[in-house]
């Protein structure tokens, strides 16, 4: 996505909701964490807007930044939950308005596979942009996407996620 000279406010209004939705899938349903990470990434994008706006894909840069925030906060939360001996089923954090079964399928995917699916099909990024957002080669992203699609498809049709993720 090339945005030329559009200002930050316009881009922010256009992208924020899609960013939160994408991150929610990448988070396995945690909409609060997704919104928190999205807002942090938007501040960082604004901070460096003079550079970000001229990138081939400001969205890919922002998704990469947001996914870093998600990963760090999710890891912290997981450890806190482990320390508190809570069951990390994620039920406390999952979005309320959704198909529980489908969210479970998404949540069971490997975190990178989940992020790839979210970037490709919720954010609508190209495979090259997915690769950029995930910090990997295009070939690597294609491979991740292919595997993630197969697992998601299998889960959607059979109702279970393959063990060999």
């Amino acid at each position: 996505m090339v945005i030329g000279d559009r200002d930050f406010e316009t881009w922010y209004r256009d992208e924020r909701t899609r960013l939160v939705r994408t991150l929610t899938v990448a988070c396995g349903g945690d909409v609060d964490l997704a919104a928190d990470a999205a807002d942090e990434a938007m501040v960082r994008a604004c901070e460096r807007w003079s550079r970000v706006r001229h990138m081939d894909s400001p969205a890919a840069w922002t998704y990469r930044t947001a996914l870093n925030v998600v990963r760090r906060r999710h890891r912290r939360r997981t450890i806190e939950e482990r320390l508190l001996r809570r069951v990390a089923a994620g039920a406390d954090h999952q979005a309320e308005d959704h198909s529980t079964e489908l969210w479970s399928v998404v949540a069971e995917l490997d975190h990178r596979d989940r992020a790839a699916i979210a970037l490709r099909y919720v954010a609508g990024l190209s495979e090259a942009q997915v690769a950029e957002a995930l910090g990997m080669s295009t070939g690597g992203a294609s491979s991740v996407l292919s595997r993630a699609r197969a697992q998601l498809r299998h889960a959607l049709t059979s109702g279970e996620v393959p063990v060999d993720q």
Binding site: F8, V20, R21, C46, T65, R82, A95, S99, M136
Partner: protein, 410 residues
């Protein structure tokens, strides 16, 4: 009925089900764009407030006499304004700084290699001999500047562990990363905070200011826009550089705020005090180097040398969300020598530190650290296993090292 997927894509119905998940989400209210801009402006002002004093930048564009194959060109000039928006180039840049001091008191610096759109920045603390006696000080470089860096880059043999050419080489897992390389110029494992220290039997005063040097590099890095907030950060070291990486991790992690900062350490086992790491040696490190507890570490280190061996659990408790990797080599003679060398203030050992004693201690350490939540540990059959892996040299544990890098740092 689910429509058949076309080629390698999701079927329409599968895609619709996925999009249906998010369409009705109760998304928290978005902050106003003006609020986002206000927060960004505030951070920008904070960032520019720490722009440091005039360092001299020496640009070394790797060339024909270097292992990477092109002419070396050296340019010097003030970096005050230019450093905030450095030119992106594929070669290495040596940054000469008055704030970074060699063991003999001469100015030193650090090197960077910046690539367009790198997803990761790797900060590497260099390895070199530790200066604690006339013998070991003689093996430890007492100064390192642009000339020494240029010579290092022109060499293809006798390289220190995790040398710049290794890190950026074609077989390196970090070939696509931005790299910051900080040489060990103080003989103190990057631990020290003491100026004009004395070493028995060595005439010249020693500048054991390794921790200050790392801090000065971090000050400089805050000027650089190329340290992009989307990048993951890895702090890495081998040998003395690995011990320095452990000791400086908290400072580095806090400088990068909310970003992931991983830690990868090779050949740098810090044992509990005992038969291998004697209390007198731990005390010598503290007194000679002026070792103080890093910021925000628990205060136990102030109680005495025994706490040095507890750094792994300290880091795990303080940074529970961090990814940390440790490579331990029970049969590594070079690292064993660190714990065998005669140390000022230590009575001579009754007998040589037996390889089996060291190996058992190393295996115990690996087993203990592997139980800590932040750490992933690999037992390696050889020393310098990380360096071997980055050079593409096959070794008995290369595959395990590759998996460790993938788990911790990618």
């Amino acid at each position: 009925m689910t429509s058949e997927p076309t080629g390698s894509d999701l079927a329409d119905e599968e895609r619709e089900r996925l999009l249906g998940l998010v369409e009705n989400l109760q998304i928290p209210t978005a902050p106003a764009a003006t609020e986002v801009r206000r927060r960004a402006d505030s951070r920008r002002r904070t960032r520019h407030a720490v722009v440091g004093s005039a360092a001299v930048v020496v640009l070394i564009v790797l060339g024909a006499i270097s292992p990477l194959g092109s002419d070396i060109e050296i340019m010097t000039g003030p970096s005050t304004e230019s450093a905030s928006q450095p030119e992106v180039r594929s070669g290495w840049v040596w940054h000469d700084s008055e704030q970074i001091v060699s063991r003999d008191g001469s100015p030193s610096g650090y090197a960077t290699r910046v690539l367009p759109d790198a997803a990761q920045v790797v900060i590497v603390l260099g390895d070199a001999a530790t200066c604690l006696s006339p013998q070991t000080c003689a093996e430890s470089p007492e100064r390192f500047g642009a000339d020494e860096f240029s010579r290092l880059m022109s060499r293809s043999t006798d390289l220190p562990a995790l040398a710049p050419t290794t890190l950026a080489g074609p077989d390196s897992q970090f070939a696509d990363a931005d790299i910051v390389w900080i040489p060990l110029v103080t003989g103190d494992m990057h631990l020290g905070s003491t100026s004009d220290a004395t070493v028995a039997g060595v005439d010249e005063p020693q500048q054991f200011v390794g921790r200050r040097n790392v801090s000065a590099v971090l000050d400089d890095l805050e000027q650089f826009d190329w340290l992009d907030p989307s990048q993951r950060v890895l702090l890495m070291g081998s040998g003395a550089g690995g011990i320095g990486a452990i000791a400086n991790y908290t400072s580095v992690a806090e400088r990068f705020g909310d970003r992931d900062v991983a830690l990868l350490v090779d050949d740098a086992p810090l044992f509990p005090t005992g038969d291998v790491f004697r209390r007198c040696q731990a005390s010598a490190w503290i007194s000679t180097f002026g070792l103080t507890r890093p910021e925000r570490w628990p205060g136990d280190l102030a109680k005495g040398p025994d706490a040095i061996g507890e750094v792994y659990s300290y880091l795990s408790r303080l940074h529970p969300e961090a990814s940390m990797g440790l490579i331990v080599s029970p049969d590594d003679a070079a690292t064993r020598r660190v714990y065998t060398t005669e140390i000022r203030g230590c009575a001579p050992r009754a007998g040589e530190l037996a390889p089996t004693t060291y190996a058992v201690a190393a295996e115990d350490l690996a087993a203990r650290v592997s139980q800590l939540p932040s750490w992933t540990v690999v037992l390696s059959d050889t020393g310098d296993a990380l360096d071997d892996a980055l050079r593409g040299a096959p070794g008995p544990t290369t595959a395990e090292i590759d998996r460790l890098i993938d788990a911790v740092a990618r």
